[in-house]
Structure formats: structure tokens, C-alpha cells
């Protein structure tokens, strides 16, 4: 593709045709390209939005657009691939507007069209559950949950941008928020924390995790689409009396964790206190792009929980958690709190600030009938308050979330224990108050629901689960969520499973795409309604999956092979379109297809005594309709291969090596940028290698490890890093590691329970 720089003359003509209906609150018009011969050719997919806001639209195939007027401004921005954005004054009194882009002689050569282009698998459960225990988590010593998936092929982890350094997970090639993340089976990482919430759980707090691909149980709600990750925290009744962990890496990141647990004497109560602190005071800019490779931060997280286990089958627990994070990033030397003059920003440094304050409280009360062990009642309650205040260059984002959750579950049997059921009622309440630039987005979601799940387990060979929940959403109305799983084990070594069902969620598009503020892209939300969140519909998807796990004995040692395939079909999705315009990101309701196919092969084998090998390959085919074209989802790698070797000696030494190969990813279209700010069509593929050695002496354990030992780095992860206030600045085109080789070391010390 040749790029020809254009000198564009924007011509505004007022058409006073009586045939075009006047609307006092809506303006409409047409964007055309004015050819040399005077012909007007409609431009499809041009961005049209109110200056300084996210209110906007895109032109249809005839070049037409419609837009509601807003009180804040009458300056309308028109921008289009291959043309420089421009601003006009528009009002309803002037009637329909014709916006023509006129060009010089070279225009005929311009093409403005897009090219068409330690983990175990549960045997008995109907769902394929990957049990991730502490041993697996210790393979990657650092640091929080978002970094704990390095040794698990089912979950992909990638950076959201080159400024915040936040890692986001992906399951089935779908972004983190499509995975329901629960803490002890209660919804946890959602809403404003959907992308970043995993970083709020330090790895040393985690007792274990369960990973489920595809839709899970209806008992925990309707939001899971790509999968479910349940995190079990340290239990007051069984955790070590004291567990201390410290970590430091060569970049200067320092972490400390302290877990304490005890029984309360002469009572049925026990309690645990979990504390975490993390600091990064040192500036690093190894790739010399003028931007910090990592954010500077001071994080404190604390949790206190209590548990009561009565002799009469009564159990109760409650807990409270505080999170306080403050991060600073951007250009080297940027000081927190610096005011940037919007008239002459180039005199200032580009900076990022992010402040998170969050408090959560939860309680669970359960009763098991001692004389009827199949029967129990349980009530789960949770409340969350989250305050987010961010600055990205000249743009501010703030968000406030208040959420309540209640779930009552009654469990019993029909006839006998071959026929179990769970039923109950739930209520989710969310109050969001968000602000981006001058726009406010407030909403209340209140969703009462009822569910019923029946499990038929006639033998060890077969089990089937059928679940249905019905919920009433105050903004989206009544909807039903059916889900089913079938398990068939023809022998003790073979399990075959099928699952399918529906998921629905409200996209928190500002919070989930906050990382895109670390670019010059304008947020354009193509609302089509006034009474739904962001004027868009709910996201609805169906997911189907099959998997096969085969256990075998190879050379007298255990091995397992597993294959799984999952398909997700979106009925509606909030499309995040980075391709239409390099200077904007468009959000709109899906029109057309959007799907994900995911295939994974995994082999685990104890090749020699105490030497475990894990090999995996996964293939993804994720496509979405962007502006009427079905395109591969950007920044998702189609192929990934993975190998992990773990060896433990009799003398408490542990060695662990992980090699990852990531295939290339499609990069968003940047052909309209000046030559020096254009990306290749696809990223290269690359390898990363991590290793870790640890040695334990009694209560003490020391570990030493290296991330990215092959020192692979994405060159120039930030577009236009030298001109961060220019329209070409973009730090979100990240496909590879930003830091090079990174060595870390740490210490664990534990005192067991009496």
C-alpha cells in the first residue's frame, strides 16, 4: 500500500432541501469525498463525534450519519482513514449538513478502503475442572493472580498497553471480562475491576484455583461466557499459623506478604489476616523510548476473615478486604499531580496516574443437616465499593462502583442421591458513576433471579447437569439462561464431556478499555438508545464445548492427554473497533458475526521419578465483524505452544523451566498514519523462557528465578513515543514483552499449625 499525503480542503455546504425532515435535537448529514470532476462519492465508516466527548457515530454505506446534539459543545469532529481529522460547528438550525473532503490531483491514487483481510483435571465432575493447587502456583513465584497463569496453557496473559504494565488474561481468545472470576464461588472481579482485578489478589494469599472453560454452573450467575476461574483464599481453619514471603527483582520491584491464622481458643471460631505491600520506586527505561518500562507504585492490600464451624452442621464466615493502589507512569521524569496545559501540551511530559481504592465485605452462612447429609442451605452476601481516579495525558477518567450481591442456595435430592438438585434466588445490584472527559455515565443495574440445577448421576460412568436460571434486569428486561453438561466415562481412564449454554453481561466499556486512554485515540460510542448502559445493548453469547481426557500409564508412570474444543457465538457484543480509524476507537453493537473457536491439546507425563513434563498447543480462531468486515480479532495470537519441565529432588530442591512460543497476531490497521508511525500487518512470533530454582530448609525456602531469559523484547512498543501529544501516539499496540530479561529472588518462611 502506498501512502500519499493529502492536502485536504474541508468544504461545508448547507443543503436546504425541504425533503429532509428537521429535528431539533438531532443533526444529520452526509460525508462525501469530492472528486476532481465534481462527483460526490459517499464515505462509509467515517468517524463523526462531538469534540472532547465520546458521543459520536459513524457514517453508513451511503455516507449518512445521525447524531443527537449535546449541550456541552457544537464542535463536530469528522475523521476518516487516510484523511486528517477536522472540526466544524454544527447546529440543528442549519439543517442537514454535507461534509465534503476535497483533494488535489493525487487523490485518484489514494485507496481508502479497508483490505479484506500443577494442574489436575477432575475425573468425576460433569464440568472439566482444572484444579490448580499451591504447588502449581509456586512455579511462578511472582506475584499476583494475573501473573500466576504463566505455567497454565488454558489461560493467555498479555499486556494491555505499554504504559500501565497491566497484564490481562484471556480464555478462549476472549478478553478477561468474558471470564467470570469468583472468590470462593462469589462474583469478585467484575465491573470497574474487570480488567485489573486479578492484580488485587496476591499469589501468596491463594490456596488453590479451579479453572473451567466454557459456561459454568447457573448457581453462580449468568455472566460467565468464556470460562470461570474460582479462587480459594487461605482458610482460617487450616492455613499456616504464619507465612511470610518477600520478593525483589532486578528492576527494583519489592513485595512483602504476611499471612497469619489462628483458632480462637475455646470457641468454634478461627481467623486469618492476610497482608500485602508492593513498591516500585525505581525508574527504568531500558528500550530508551523516553517512557517508563514499568509504573512506579505503592500498593497496600489487606484482608481479614473469620470462620465458624459448629458441631451441629452450622457454618458461618465473613471477611473484609481493603485495596489501595497508586500508580504513576508515562514519560521518564513525569511527576504526580502535574497539570498539563491543554493549549500547549508539548511543553509538558506525558504522564499517567491511577488511583484505586476499594473495600469489600462478604458473609456466608450455611447449614448442613447432620442426619440428612445431602441437604443444605446456604446464603452468600457481598458488598463492594470501588473508587477509581485516573489521568492519561490530557484525559481524566473516574469511576465509582457500589455493588451488592445476595445468593440463597438450597441443595437436596429427589428420591435418592442419584438425583441431586440446587435451587435458589439471587440478586445483583450495581451502581456505577463514571466520568470520561466531560461526559458522565451513570447507571443502576438491579437483577433479581431464580435458578434451578438438576444433576443426574446414575453411575460413576455417566452424569448430566441441566440448569436454568431466569433473571429480570431492570434495563434489559427478562432473560433466561439455560446451561447443560454431560459427562461420560466409558472406562476408569477415559472421560468425555460436552457442555453448552448461554451467558449475558453488561460491558463496562470505559473501565474495560481504560488502557486505550494511553493513546491519542478518541473514544466514540455509537449509542442507539438512551436508557441502556452507554446506549448499547447487553452482550449475549452461546458457548459449546467438547473435551476428552485420557489417563494412561507410560513406562510405569502416570500420564494424561487431553483435547478440548470450544466455540463461542456472540448474539450481541460491544465491538471495540481499532481498525476503522487510527485516531479513534469505536464502540458499537455487533452487526454480523462474532465468534471464537479454540482448540487445545495437552499432555502431562511424569517422565522420570519426580520429573514432570507438560506440553501443550492451542489454536484460536477469533473473528469479529468490524464495520461490515469479518476480521481476525487484533492482538490475539492464533497459535501458541508451551512446554514446562518441573523437577524436584529428594533434598528439597525444585527446578522449573517454562518455554512459550507465541504465534503472530494481527495488528490494527495503521496504514493511514505517516510512514514512521505505521505498524506491520502482523506481529512476529516469538519465544519466552522462564526458569526458577528453589530450595527449602525446614521452615525456610529461598527461590531464584528469571523471566524472559531469552531477553526477547518488542521494539518500540509505543507509536510516536517522542510526540505523545500528537494524533499518532499509541501505547496499546502491545504484542510482546516490554521488559527484557528480569531476575528475581525471594524468601518464604512458614510456621505450621499445631
Amino acid at each position: 500500500m502506498k501512502y500519499i499525503s493529502l492536502s485536504i480542503c474541508l468544504l461545508m455546504t448547507v443543503v436546504t432541501s425541504g425533503l429532509w425532515a428537521q429535528n431539533t435535537t438531532e443533526i444529520n448529514g452526509q460525508v462525501v469525498e469530492l472528486k476532481e470532476d465534481g462527483k460526490k462519492v459517499p464515505l462509509t465508516g467515517a468517524s463523526v463525534y462531538w469534540l472532547g466527548t465520546t458521543k459520536g457515530s459513524a457514517t453508513d454505506p451511503d455516507g449518512n450519519f445521525k447524531l443527537k446534539t449535546i449541550p456541552q459543545t457544537d464542535k463536530l469532529v469528522i475523521s476518516f482513514v487516510g484523511f486528517r481529522s477536522d472540526t466544524i460547528t454544527a447546529s440543528t438550525s442549519s439543517g442537514p449538513i454535507l461534509i465534503a473532503l476535497q483533494s488535489d490531483e493525487t487523490l485518484e491514487e489514494v485507496t481508502v478502503t479497508h483490505e479484506q483481510k500443577s494442574t489436575t483435571f477432575s475425573f468425576t465432575s460433569s464440568l472439566k475442572i482444572e484444579e490448580v493447587n499451591e504447588k502449581e502456583l509456586l512455579k511462578a513465584a511472582c506475584c499476583n493472580l494475573s501473573e500466576s497463569f504463566e505455567t497454565l496453557p488454558s489461560v493467555d496473559v498479555s499486556f494491555t498497553d505499554a504504559v500501565t504494565g497491566v497484564r490481562q488474561i484471556q480464555m478462549l481468545g476472549l478478553a478477561g471480562p468474558y471470564t467470570q472470576i469468583t472468590r470462593e464461588n462469589m462474583p469478585n472481579v467484575r465491573g470497574l475491576s474487570a480488567n485489573y482485578g486479578l492484580t488485587y489478589t496476591p499469589g501468596t494469599w491463594v490456596d488453590g484455583m479451579q479453572l473451567i472453560k466454557g459456561v459454568g454452573s447457573v448457581v453462580n450467575g449468568f455472566e460467565s461466557i468464556a470460562g470461570q476461574i474460582n479462587v480459594e483464599l487461605r482458610k482460617p481453619e487450616e492455613a499456616d499459623a504464619l507465612y511470610f514471603n518477600s520478593y525483589v527483582n532486578e528492576m527494583g520491584r519489592m513485595e512483602g506478604n504476611l499471612n497469619l491464622a489462628t483458632d480462637i481458643k475455646n470457641t468454634d471460631w478461627s481467623t486469618a489476616l492476610l497482608l500485602h505491600t508492593s513498591h516500585m520506586p525505581f525508574e527504568n527505561d531500558r528500550n530508551s523510548d523516553g517512557f517508563l518500562d514499568n509504573t512506579l507504585y505503592n500498593d497496600f492490600i489487606g484482608l481479614n476473615r473469620w470462620k465458624y464451624i459448629g458441631a451441629n452442621g452450622l457454618m458461618a464466615q465473613f471477611g473484609v478486604k481493603f485495596t489501595n493502589l497508586s500508580k504513576t507512569g508515562g514519560q521518564v521524569g513525569f511527576e504526580r499531580g502535574t497539570e498539563i496545559d491543554p493549549m500547549s501540551p508539548q511543553n509538558s511530559l506525558w504522564g499517567m496516574e491511577s488511583n484505586t481504592r476499594r473495600i469489600e465485605g462478604w458473609a456466608k452462612i450455611g447449614k448442613v443437616f447432620i442426619d440428612m447429609p445431602w441437604k443444605s442451605y446456604g446464603l452468600q452476601l457481598a458488598a463492594t465499593a470501588h473508587q477509581q481516579d485516573d489521568v492519561f495525558g490530557l484525559r481524566n477518567y473516574s469511576g465509582k462502583q457500589t455493588s451488592l450481591y445476595a445468593n440463597f442456595v438450597y441443595q437436596s435430592i429427589f428420591w435418592n442421591t442419584n438425583h441431586k438438585f440446587k435451587t435458589g434466588l439471587s440478586w445483583m445490584y450495581d451502581n456505577y458513576e463514571e466520568q470520561l472527559l466531560t461526559d458522565s455515565y451513570d447507571r443502576v443495574e438491579s437483577v433479581p433471579g431464580a435458578f434451578f440445577e438438576y444433576t443426574f448421576e446414575p453411575s460413576d460412568k455417566v452424569s448430566a447437569v441441566a440448569g436454568l436460571r431466569t433473571d429480570y434486569h431492570n434495563l434489559f428486561g427478562f432473560f433466561a439462561t439455560p446451561r447443560a453438561q454431560i459427562r461420560y466415562a466409558p472406562s476408569l481412564n477415559t472421560v468425555f464431556r460436552v457442555s453448552g449454554g448461554r451467558g449475558q453481561r453488561t460491558a463496562n466499556l470505559l473501565a474495560e478499555n481504560r488502557n486505550l486512554l494511553a493513546s491519542a485515540r478518541n473514544f466514540v460510542i455509537e449509542s442507539n438508545s438512551t436508557d441502556t448502559p452507554y446506549g448499547l445493548d447487553a452482550e449475549v453469547a452461546w458457548n459449546y464445548g467438547v473435551n476428552l481426557t485420557q489417563y494412561l500409564t507410560l513406562l510405569d508412570r502416570e500420564a494424561s492427554l487431553s483435547v478440548d474444543f470450544y466455540r463461542t457465538d456472540f448474539q450481541n457484543q460491544i465491538v471495540v473497533d481499532l481498525d476503522r480509524n487510527t485516531q479513534a476507537v469505536h464502540f458499537y453493537n455487533l452487526e454480523g458475526e462474532s465468534f471464537s473457536n479454540s482448540l487445545q491439546l495437552q499432555a502431562d507425563w511424569e517422565i522420570l521419578p519426580r520429573l514432570d513434563v507438560r506440553l501443550a498447543y492451542r489454536w484460536l480462531d477469533v473473528k469479529t465483524t468490524y464495520s461490515e468486515q469479518l476480521l481476525e480479532k487484533p492482538l490475539v495470537s492464533e497459535h501458541r505452544a508451551f512446554g514446562n519441565l518441573a523437577y524436584a529432588t529428594n533434598k528439597n530442591w525444585k527446578f522449573d523451566v517454562t518455554l512459550n512460543w507465541q504465534g503472530s497476531r494481527r495488528l490494527p490497521d495503521t496504514r493511514s498514519n505517516p510512514e514512521q508511525y505505521r505498524l506491520t500487518e502482523r506481529s512476529p512470533n516469538f519465544y519466552t523462557l522462564n526458569w526458577q530454582v528453589s530450595k527449602a530448609w525446614g521452615r525456610t525456602e529461598i527461590y531464584l528465578g528469571m523471566e524472559n531469559a531469552l531477553n526477547f523484547r518488542q521494539d518500540n512498543p509505543i507509536l510516536a513515543s517522542a510526540q505523545p501529544f500528537s494524533p499518532f501516539f499509541d501505547s496499546t499496540m502491545v504484542w510482546g514483552p516490554i521488559f527484557g530479561r528480569n531476575t528475581y529472588a525471594g524468601l518464604r518462611y512458614r510456621i505450621g499449625r499445631d
Partner: protein, 118 residues
């Protein structure tokens, strides 16, 4: 909104009914000796017990050779349950399995022929 109230009503009614049911039923638990050897036996024994109408739950442990069974006294009794188990080839405290039923067992489960608990 109407739909949601209906759903809630049904759910509440359901809970109430299942509770009332539980109170009118007389559920007891008992332990009986059942002879067997392995995991396959366990599944066979437990399923045979559950096949008996009125049995709610059955758990057999190879190590103790004991079956813990929960059942509704109005619908069945321990003898009927043991007859059901003997029918699939396992001897119980009160009922010995017939030779023809015993012979139906796979080789790994032949407890009378010296196969030990495994």
C-alpha cells in the same frame, strides 16, 4: 416484572413443599456389613441399595466393609435393602447372595474366592 414474580413464587413454593415433605418423611440412617473388594464393588453395592425404593443415600467403604444407608422407614426396611444388595452378588449381614448371583460378578470382585480388598 410479572414474570419475575411468578418465578419467585414458584421457587418459594418449591422450597416450602420440599421442606414440608422432609418433615413428614421418617428418614433414618443405619450401618450394615456388606462384603466386597474394590471400587467396582462399591459402585455396584451403592447402586443396588439406591435401586431399592425409599433409599436416599448409600455409602460403602471397602476398608470397613460397612454400608451406611439412609432410608425412609415408611417405604422400606433394612432387610429389603440387604435383599437388593444380595441380588447383585454381595453378601450382607442378614442376606447371603445366591451362588448364581455371585457368579455374575467379574473376576476382580470374587470375594469368596480369595480376592482381597484392593
Amino acid at each position: 416484572m410479572k414474570n419475575i414474580y411468578k418465578i419467585l413464587l414458584v421457587a418459594v413454593a418449591f422450597l416450602a413443599i420440599s421442606n414440608v415433605q422432609a418433615q413428614t418423611q421418617k428418614t433414618v440412617s443405619e450401618e450394615v456389613q456388606v462384603t466386597g473388594v474394590c471400587k467396582m464393588c462399591k459402585e455396584r453395592i451403592e447402586n443396588a441399595a439406591l435401586e431399592v425404593k425409599g433409599v436416599k443415600m448409600a455409602t460403602w467403604k471397602p476398608s470397613t466393609q460397612k454400608l451406611k444407608v439412609y432410608f425412609n422407614t415408611k417405604k422400606t426396611d433394612l432387610v429389603k435393602i440387604q435383599e437388593g444388595i444380595a441380588k447383585v452378588g454381595h453378601d450382607t449381614e442378614a442376606v447371603k447372595a445366591k451362588d448364581e448371583d455371585y457368579k455374575q460378578l467379574p473376576d476382580c470382585c470374587l470375594y469368596r474366592d480369595g480376592v482381597e480388598v484392593h
